[in-house]
Subunit: 469 residues, 2 copies
């Protein structure tokens, strides 16, 4: 009857060593969120499908994990009416799944956050600064580094248009990665500038095509980028309008000045873009605040940055590790109408999301997990027999109450076996008690790596604690 | 197009105030688990249904949340063959759901733990001491205090028969509730003693009936309990054999002695129960260890305690709050063959589970959440304008880097509004900077409850930190 145990593809077990590293990541991120005044919330793993559907595009709808209605999910359904014509036992799965599933697993933390804000608007004092660290589920094809269950760490403030919020998110990124010891580059752009660029080129509906092409400048070069834009339907003149953007160089303020000249009618087209100018004003202000704050990470204006174009309306952020190739490890931006779909219009917000799995890979790859992260138990108390055990129990209890992680070996036995247990679990200290120690009311503690051994009176908690460290 | 947002019945949102209280519970429990040398693991939310089905009885199978296969879940299915005869559009939902769902949400942490141990047995050094704090899902009918998604906090050691493990679980319970300030009674029994009782009564197959009846002694009295046992098929003689158990009184050791006399052939039946005697030996040893450890909670031998009879094989635990009526807030026991179903026989283990939701209700009901738990931001920096803001930003950054949770009010505006924000969010300190302070390189900080106001040089982090607490 024994089954060979396994877990669904794309999911993972985390053992003690991985958990220690993952908790180090979450704890660090959480501690920074807190010092910036963000408070935690949690939402249910399941949301009504009506909350989730249509929020992530058609592709996203397909990637939702749906939960079969409990009870008798199938009775009363006229399956024939869902049959696709002329195709045998083929059915309209989309329609049928709506019939038998009312709930789905959350796909990200953003839509549940929007739903939360609308549902609880009466209890919330705005601006609402919240963080949320929970798993999300996507029925993506599993592959290296892509999982069907993974954690997101989101931090958002909603109900304020102030660019101070953008600054604080940059500061949070800077602080988190400086605590991790990871050198990062924080790339910043503004959606309104991309809109402006399409406007002055005379193709306001081609923002995405233009941005995608610009994004490739470093990889494929000027000519190829211009060719791609023409392929997408831009005129020669439009491409010429955009060319100065591709050739931008110098300091951030040089770039911003040149862009302002273009948006102000200085382009070949001669058109002025109000949206573009507004975006440049926001970037000016944000970079000025960044200067005032003294950010230690590299911060870079990147006019090709274009995350989630359909979604963001102002600042856009993306963070990359400078010494490790893995793509973006953190990203986000400002949105103006997140809660509109749930009936609360005009709520502007800005947020970022930390990619815990990629950060894990970066820290692992660069050897940056602190050594003390993985050690768990500090002291193993050897078990020499019933009498010694009863002597040890209250001593160990006091050490534990003082916050020191201790174990007593589970059964009396050869010391060699007990040593081996300590070694396997990387327990750094071993306590031994024999007749001698019991008579003197002492405990002998050995540092298993240095070999140093010291005796302490059983009441000398400070002494033991200091030695065990 | 706006939808009225809601969440599935039986699920919950947790806002900042609830999260603070819940995290206090989880952090406290986790910190104690750690000092006892238990290490964390996490398993996926979804398990293969083959892992889950048949582990919780037929009723449990019905309460599993099943996840619809992704992609085209329905095509190729001959629905007619699942039709229940003569009942129109009624289908065999059980069989059909197996066809369209391969995965389910975990129902508890025990079965995934067993699956984990078997799957990773090569990497684990036994005895394996693990804790796991994760949500579980049950399609139960929602009602007050019963949710469809709730957290379990499990701590188990597997691969050791030593009763030291039982002791340590009792110590963990004692420590956790002493940290919470909740007086508890820890009730202990042993499954083998219940087996023995049924044996000496001559009805070895009626363990459950006998135990259920005994359990009611306080509520319904001796006569009613005996009547119930007879109703369940026990003979007069069998009931007489059990009667002394119902009349047990005195100290734990008195009770154990009397039970030993009965199990040793001193009952009316004159039969000897080896299982019963083994159970009493285990209880003797455990209570002796408990004496040696000095437990501050009340610990009580309760021979009517019978949690999860089909499952536990040795010690059984249950914990109740003494000053709050809510049922059991923690429970567990020893099992001898948890991993057998997954192909790894002979693994004995023992564990307990803390009920976070009930503990929340107890702490709330008794007013035991520490006040500092709910406070989040310590200091609000007033925003008096662009110049003042740029002066404040680096000061606030240093306070945050020192671990103090601060906010800067998001936009310049009337001080009254900023005061109100601090008040609403229970932020205890307000920092103000004007021309005067900027000239002197100072910051004025006001304690909003006492009214006390002090000025600090902007470099005097220790001074500010000390005042803000």
């Amino acid at each position: 009857m024994a089954q060979k145990p396994s877990i669904p593809k794309g999911t993972r077990d985390f053992g003690p060593a991985e958990m220690a590293c993952r908790n180090y990541i979450f704890d660090t991120i959480r501690s920074v969120f807190k010092t910036y005044g963000y408070a935690p919330i949690e939402t249910p793993s399941m949301e009504n499908l009506s909350t989730l559907l249509g929020k992530y595009g058609e592709e996203g709808d397909k990637l939702l994990f749906r939960i079969l209605n409990s009870g008798d999910a199938f009775s009363g359904i006229d399956f024939d009416s869902y049959r696709l014509e002329g195709e045998g036992d083929n059915y309209n799965s989309k329609a049928l799944s709506l019939k038998v599933c009312e709930k789905g697993l959350r796909y990200d933390l953003t839509v549940p956050f929007a739903r939360y804000v609308v549902q609880h608007q009466g209890e919330i004092s705005f601006p609402f600064k919240r963080y949320q660290i929970q798993p999300v589920w996507r029925a993506d094809r599993p592959q290296k580094g892509r999982y069907r269950e993974f954690y997101q760490c989101d931090v958002d403030v909603i109900g304020s248009r102030s660019l101070l919020n953008e600054l604080e998110l940059v500061q949070i990124v800077d602080r988190v990665f400086s605590l991790f010891g990871v050198a990062v580059c924080i790339k910043i752009n503004n959606r309104k500038v991309l809109t402006g660029l399409a406007e002055i080129a005379g193709f306001p509906d081609k923002v995405v095509d233009i941005t995608v092409a610009i994004d490739k400048i470093d990889k494929i070069g000027l000519e190829a980028v211009e060719a791609e834009m023409k392929e997408k339907g831009l005129t020669d003149n439009a491409v010429k309008v955009i060319e100065p953007v591709l050739l931008l160089s110098g300091s951030t303020s040089d770039k911003l000045s040149e862009m302002r000249r273009l948006m102000n009618g200085g382009s070949l087209s001669g058109g002025v873009s109000e949206a573009g100018l507004k975006g440049l004003d926001e970037l000016d202000e944000l970079f000025s605040l960044i200067d005032a704050a003294g950010i230690s990470s590299a911060v870079e204006l990147d006019l090709s940055l274009a995350r989630g174009l359909n979604y963001y309306t102002g600042a856009i952020f993306e963070v990359k590790a400078r010494d490790f190739q893995i793509g973006s490890i953190c990203g986000g931006g400002r949105y103006d109408n997140l809660t509109g779909i749930f009936g609360l219009p005009g709520m502007s917000g800005v947020g970022i999301s930390f990619g815990a799995d990629r950060i894990y890979d970066v820290l692992k790859g660069l050897g940056l997990f602190p050594q003390e992260v993985t050690s768990c138990t500090r002291l193993l108390f050897a078990n020499m027999g019933q009498k010694e055990l009863r002597y040890a129990i209250p001593v160990v209890k006091r050490l534990r109450d003082a916050g020191i992680a201790c174990e007593i070996f589970h059964e009396p036995g050869k010391l060699k076996k007990q040593f081996e247990y300590a070694e396997k679990k990387s327990i750094p200290f071993l306590a031994i008690v024999g007749e001698d120690e019991m008579e003197k009311e002492e405990v002998s503690i050995k540092n298993l790596s240095s070999g140093e051994q010291r005796s302490f009176h059983i009441a000398d908690l400070d002494g033991m604690g200091g030695f065990i460290g």
